[in-house]
Amino acid sequence: MDNALTISGLTKTYKDFVLDNVSFAVPNGAIVGLIGENGAGKSTTINAVLGLIQKEAGYVSILGNEEINGDTKEQIGVVFDGSNYPEILSPKKINRVMKNIYCSWNEQTYFRLLKQFSLPVDKQIKQFSKGMKMKLAISVAFSHHSKLLILDEATSGLDPVIRDDILDMLLDFVQNEEHSILVSSHITSDLEKIADYIVFIHEGKVVFFKPKDELMEQYGMIKCGAAQFDALDQSDIVVYRKMDYEWQVLVSNRGKMQKKYPKAMIVPATIDEIILLYVKGGK
């Protein structure tokens, strides 16, 4: 089993949205970042993977199983945006609940993480800040020997310090080669920091699924005027966008393009810029 998660041809139709033939994989020991604008289909993909919604077509293999059963769920840690635990409960009560849900629940790990995050054990969750709730959800996800972590917008709305703590934990988690993470986020800087692969979803379709290093090291943006733009070979353009005073052109091989167009100003493209060009640009 090379992949912790394999998704192939995943399709789901709603009245006003279609998740169309989504395919990508989460290799063992890797962090895969799922990016896309609001409503692009990130959460729908995650919900279909977790069996929260019924898929119409496609194939999902999770930790080697096509059916997501109880044994598989034991090994998956899920963190959604918000705590998703009854607010009346305290972390101590959640321990009692989880102890009776997960066979592999590790009380020591859970309380160690609560201590590490300085979370009060007896305080009701409703008195927690958003960051504290997120830390609690992460503590739960880490306390039942998960092999695959799935995080849906788990770091959105958190301050940079807490986000950095969480990102460090995620990086620590994948030090074990059997562990993998699928993380959806709007905060592309977080993914630039930790992800090994990037999946970009736009209007329900996967635009690209590439190693992050390839995107960061090979992709580039040519900023040029109209005459220089006209002189570009169309096959070299991935996407382009016309701004007020310049053209922005995304190219997939920065080095090769620099040799081909020595006068062109080609700069490395950030993930944010790549997304913006795909979403707002043309081809």
Binding site: G51, F80, N84, Y85, P86, I88, V97, K99
Partner: protein, 209 residues
């Protein structure tokens, strides 16, 4: 399933305590006005409100979504709510029996017959209402399901009256009141089981987001 039952008990704890105290106080208070065993009609119905508090809470906190990602099947999630409902109804009956037993010690006339009769009516109403409202709690949004919850208790009294009239066609009610209400209770139990099966089937394919 034990874990989610513990979670529901934590959520409903204060509500259960308030219901227990209210039923005991009401029982002693009513004893001056009415036949105390009539409390058995009200007790199971009143005590099951905690289930709907837990369902509303699950929806509000998005626990319903979270729990599906845990090693608990959808049929276990539904089954737990039905079991929780039954447990609370039985707890209601037990609590209502407390003032009955205490007052019986003080010489108030309470017959086994009346306890069985009112107990059967109370449990029948509770099971019929639960059989209507529990599946609806998973079909509709929280606001609609709360309306269904309130309507279901009124509907259950109508259904009981209808069932009694129906049984009366075969067995004269006047001479066999207890037997007739036991038949109604048996039908209510069957309805509750059928309702559980329907709820499980519906929830199995439902998108939870």
């Amino acid at each position: 399933m034990k874990g989610i039952l513990i979670k529901d008990l934590y959520i409903a704890k204060s509500n259960i305590l308030v219901t227990i105290v209210s039923l005991i106080v009401l029982g002693f208070g009513l004893s001056f006005l009415l036949e105390i065993s009539a409390l058995l009609v009200l007790a199971p119905v009143a005590s099951t409100t905690a289930v709907f508090i837990s369902i509303t809470n699950d929806a509000a906190s998005k626990w319903s979504k979270n729990v599906i990602t845990m090693p608990v099947s959808r049929s276990q999630i539904i089954g737990e709510k039905f079991i929780f409902y039954i447990l609370l109804a039985v707890l209601g009956i037990i609590v209502a029996l407390v003032p009955c037993i205490v007052l019986a010690f003080f010489g108030i006339d309470i017959t086994f017959y009346s306890l069985c009769l009112y107990g059967s009516i109370g449990m029948s109403a509770t099971l019929l209402a639960g059989g209507i409202s529990l599946p609806c709690a998973y079909l509709f949004d929280p606001e609609k399901s709360q309306i269904v919850f309130m309507v279901s208790f009124m509907a259950s009294t109508g259904i009981i009256a209808g069932l009694v009239l129906l049984v009366n066609v075969f067995i004269p009610v006047k001479d066999n009141i207890l037997l007739v209400f036991h038949i109604v209770l048996a039908i209510s139990i069957m309805w509750f089981i059928v309702s559980y099966r329907i709820a499980t089937r519906v929830y199995q394919r439902r998108d939870v987001t």
